[in-house]
């Protein structure tokens, strides 16, 4: 491909190839402080290709491809090329990862202890992770928690934090000195802007942590906290894992161990301040 960019995020190496310069240039700028894959060998390849050869020039739109593909993934306009790249990188990990059990979750760490926040899109994972980072927590990731089946430890995957709609202004106010990517308006997920994880998050991204608390946040409800039993946590986490089935018995063992060792709570919250206070009280 014409334009190529390689990066290591946590333990995972990516190589992104693109028909266009712009998405790769954006990745290079935003991931400037990140290392390259170990020994120069990427775990996953991502391709951003023109949907038709002439579409590289006329109404350019980006098709996502790579080692692992969803056949019905819709192409995105080139203006959203950075989003396409991020989505494609996530997809490779979600479908291809076999070393770690993947949880769709944000993770923050302080003093070697990690809090894992999991929930569906819109639950507030990314926003809460960014706001906790603003309060001195280490951002380990806003999208995937990587659980090592051998040790039970959570490994970091501090990719760019994907902020949507109202969360963009909230996080900019909390982190005025942070670096952000370009605003991408009107994507299929609404307005999106990426936050670059801070130097601490990048410098420590090889350092795993023990999860001491699992939280199921839900935004837009009256404040309420409820203890979640290991059985319910197991059911919810298997639904929140993209590779649980693929890992077979290793996944079962890792998941049962994780829910037994990690106390869980459901947290409904009306605004971010209430959630942060509740999480810090638990952590």
């Amino acid at each position: 491909m014409r334009h190529v960019f390689s990066v290591r995020i946590g333990p995972v190496g990516f190589r992104v190839g693109s028909d266009w310069r712009a998405p790769v240039a954006a990745l290079r700028t935003l991931y400037a402080g990140y290392p390259t894959p170990d020994d120069g060998i990427a775990d996953y390849n991502v391709r951003l290709s023109a949907t038709r050869p002439w579409r590289r020039f006329i109404r350019p739109s980006v098709a996502i491809a790579g080692d692992y593909m969803l056949p019905d993934a819709a192409p995105l306009p080139l203006a959203h090329g950075l989003l396409a790249a991020e989505m494609a990188m996530n997809l490779q990990l979600a479908l291809g990862e076999r070393r770690f059990l993947l949880l769709h979750a944000a993770t923050v760490e302080r003093g070697g202890e990690a809090i894992v926040l999991t929930g569906e899109s819109g639950a507030g994972k990314s926003t809460l992770a960014a706001l906790l980072a603003a309060r001195g927590w280490r951002l380990m990731g806003d999208e995937f928690a990587l659980v090592d089946p051998e040790t039970g430890l959570v490994h970091a995957f501090p990719r760019l934090v994907s902020l949507k709609n109202a969360a963009i202004a909230v996080v900019r106010a909390a982190l005025p000195a942070a670096r952000f990517g370009p605003l991408m308006a009107g994507t299929p997920k609404g307005d999106i802007r990426h936050l670059v994880p801070d130097d601490t998050a990048v410098a420590a991204m090889q350092v795993p942590a023990r999860a001491v608390r699992l939280v199921f946040p839900r935004f837009g409800f009256a404040a309420e906290r409820r203890t979640v039993g290991a059985g319910e946590a197991f059911v919810r986490l298997t639904q929140a894992s993209t590779n649980y089935v693929a890992l077979g018995e290793r996944g079962f063992a890792a998941m049962t161990r994780f829910v037994r060792e990690t106390p869980a709570m459901a947290l409904d919250y009306p605004d971010a301040d209430a959630a942060i206070a509740a999480i810090e009280a638990e952590g």
Partner: protein, 87 residues
């Protein structure tokens, strides 16, 4: 025709993990995970690797005659889930 008999996998065929009020069971033969509650784990243990009749299972759990229908329902659910064989 002989009465239906049921058989569960041998103990090594399942990985059973009690999680508070639920029990997660990994079925090694199929790679499927099942989430169950009592008395399913006890039922599976009572016929692990052995063909058992309704009467034998009912006796093992001290069930009355009018409770056999409920036991058959549970067993049929386990057959449908692939955790128990019937013949």
């Amino acid at each position: 025709m002989a009465a239906t008999r049921y058989r569960a996998p041998v103990a090594e065929g399942l990985c059973v993990a009690p999680l508070d009020d639920l029990v997660a069971i990994y079925h090694r033969a199929s790679g499927l995970t099942h989430i169950v509650v009592a008395p399913v784990p006890e039922l599976l243990a009572a016929m692990a690797g052995e063909w058992r009749s309704i009467e034998a299972l009912a006796a093992a759990f001290g069930l009355a005659d009018d409770e056999h229908a409920a036991l058959i329902e549970r067993l049929d659910e386990l057959v449908a889930a692939g955790l128990v064989e019937a013949r």
